[in-house]
């Protein structure tokens, strides 16, 4: 019997993996992919709680999370292309223009 705790623990594991990736990697695209992993972990816990509680609202929320993720992908990758054009690199260490 699969309980809700199985799904929530899996979601926590995936989220912490994504956090680890965001903190350690230097390639901006890989960091972006790790953020997508974290978003997906949150989506999993939303859907598991939604189907556990018998309520549709969590799944609607996942729908909007996916919308925002798609918008974020378009704008974020365009930003990376613009950065690469200026700096010939997408390592996050080179993005230090706004650092005082």
């Amino acid at each position: 019997m699969i309980t809700i705790n199985h799904y929530l623990v899996l979601s926590a594991v995936l989220f912490s993996l994504g956090t680890f990736g965001v903190l350690t990697r230097k390639n901006a695209i890989v960091i972006f992919m790790c953020i997508e992993l974290m978003l997906n972990a949150v989506n999993l816990s939303f859907i598991s709680l939604s189907s556990h509680l018998g309520n549709m609202d969590g799944q609607i929320f996942v729908f909007f999370v996916m919308t925002v993720a798609a918008a974020e992908a378009a704008v974020g990758l365009a930003l990376m292309i613009a950065f690469f054009r200026n700096r010939e690199s997408i390592a996050v260490d080179d993005f230090s223009l706004l650092k005082w």
Binding site: L10, A12, T19, F20, C34, N55, L77, M80
Partner: protein, 167 residues
């Protein structure tokens, strides 16, 4: 039987999630990320949410991942590999473990059983998941739906403007 399938899928999801974090080449990371998305779509089917599984495959594995892979190939990142290693692995491990522990404790303390809404697995099978989602989306959540469409429009225009040659 179902629990064995769950553990198998969970193992694949966590292993490919680990590969997303650790693989050196960005293309390998993207392929591993796709594996994670497909595993999560399987979980959504197991949770009586087939429509969510379908749009997980279409939006994430289809659109977003394709965009990522196109960008990787456009930038030709094979020549621009990070010359140094990574940021502090030790502290990141500590922080990630802390977040996982926190999630684990919150889950174990919480009590969500005994609350049951009107949507059950049988009802989803009988009425259809898409219909339930649509009914909810176009009645209770109509305003957020419209705002999401404006957000997507702004994202399209913004992406075109940002990625132009001279701004």
């Amino acid at each position: 039987m179902e629990i064995m399938y769950f553990y198998l899928l969970a193992a694949v999801a966590v292993a490919s999630g680990f590969m997303v974090v650790t693989c050196k080449s960005p293309v390998n990371n993207a392929i591993a990320l796709m594996m994670t998305f497909v595993c999560l779509a399987n979980f959504y089917v197991m949770l009586d949410a087939p429509f969510m599984a379908a749009i997980q495959i279409m939006v994430y594995a289809g659109a977003i991942l394709m965009l990522i892979i196109f960008t990787i190939m456009l930038l030709n990142l094979g020549t621009a590999v990070a010359r140094k290693g990574s940021h502090s692995v030790v502290w990141a491990t500590v922080l990630a473990l802390l977040i996982a522990m926190q999630g684990y404790f919150v889950i174990n303390r919480g009590e969500v059983s005994g609350i049951t809404g009107e949507i059950t697995g049988e009802m989803v099978k009988k009425v259809g998941h898409t219909e339930l989602i649509a009914k909810s989306l176009f009645t209770d959540f109509l305003l957020p739906f419209e705002i999401a469409s404006i957000l997507l429009l702004v994202a399209i225009v913004g992406a075109v403007i940002i990625a132009k040659k001279e701004v």
